[in-house]
Symmetry: C2
Subunit: 224 residues, 2 copies
Amino acid sequence: MSSLHDTPRGIPEVTVARLPGYLRALTTLADAGQESVSSESLAATSGVSPSMLRKDLSHLGSYGVRGVGYETSRLIAEISAALGLTRDWPVAIVGMGNLGRALAAYQGFAVRGFQVIALLDGDAEVVGTRIAGLDVQPMADLPALVTRSGLAIGVIATPPSAAQQCCDALVAAGVRSILNFAPTVLAVPPGVIVRKVDLATELQILAFHSHAQAHAAHAEVKGA
Amino acid sequence: MSSLHDTPRGIPEVTVARLPGYLRALTTLADAGQESVSSESLAATSGVSPSMLRKDLSHLGSYGVRGVGYETSRLIAEISAALGLTRDWPVAIVGMGNLGRALAAYQGFAVRGFQVIALLDGDAEVVGTRIAGLDVQPMADLPALVTRSGLAIGVIATPPSAAQQCCDALVAAGVRSILNFAPTVLAVPPGVIVRKVDLATELQILAFHSHAQAHAAHAEVKGA
DNA sequence: CACTGTGAATACCTTCACAGCA
DNA sequence: TGCTGTGAAGGTATTCACAGTG
């Protein structure tokens, strides 16, 4: 029943990755005053198929009502609980270059429960400067941040050459969840989870499709 | 043989998504002077299994030498060609809020072949202001950008409420590849490809794992 | 009756294991 | 001999189709 791709609580990784989308769709519906929603309608809003939505939700439990649908507020509560959004998650950003500063200034982290509590940099020149209302701290402060502030999530925004070293420092301090913006493959011990965000990769994937399409269009013209 | 998940040239979507990673690993190796690399070594650098790497590369053709490995420069050329990186891809960013400005300032787009040629905004107040060396243009300029500059990739960095409208404008102007930073599901006609980058989603996935781990640790303490 | 929850079927992706070739 | 390229096997994810139920 449970497999290698299942998470500790038996929820498949792919399902976990889709839950935030459902949560967002539900929040939108709830804000609009909808108290109940069918799998068909919620699936459409979330951009997935109704059967996939139902299968995903079935991993959390049976929170729907047959013949009716899902109670919006109930489902929001259940998904939030499953994702662990009932508590706050302190975040630290490591690397105050172009990207790090952009991330610090961008208010996208200030969503439900996530808060940037510290900015760090390995360069003594940068430490102590003030960015987006926070004093940049040295890497040596990491253990104290974990102990005192419960830091759980680290964001790596360093150049690729420094990423592994910063990752090691985060892991050594006790951070178990890392969001990596550096274009590098990070090596981490078991139990530490890394997710990667890479603009260059995304653009190259888009380029492939534009390229393929231009090709196809050209072939069509030649064939006609 | 070919399936629904295959791209026009018969390369599976998952493979396309991994090619940029191989390309980066290869570039690193080439810069270090390595002229040849085995699937085992390249796979390790790219963070995948050797068999997956070989299967992926086999979709592009037979560019390896049995008993030896892959010639670094040759493979770089072949993957670049497959991804369509042999030409330039002009990019426009739509939405000059917090995120859009951060993206415009961040030099992450300035990788091989990608160049931000225009910044756009729907707000007349913002149009005409200068950001990161470019004058912000009105949305009405989109068709001309596509015609005159060959704009092919649009980046949406607007608030979610404006995202669909901007997406429609991009599509109407002829843009077929969209990178969406807004937390919304975009509806697009067939032939248009959308990729999504969402910090909130990434953080929530990480929260799930931290949460699950805290749970597991707690259970262990109780059980002991 | 309408819609959920779920076994069964299908499609897809990854890994295995080895044939084939420099 | 050593490593690639690939059919076959195994495992995962998605869709189908319908039994179950408020």
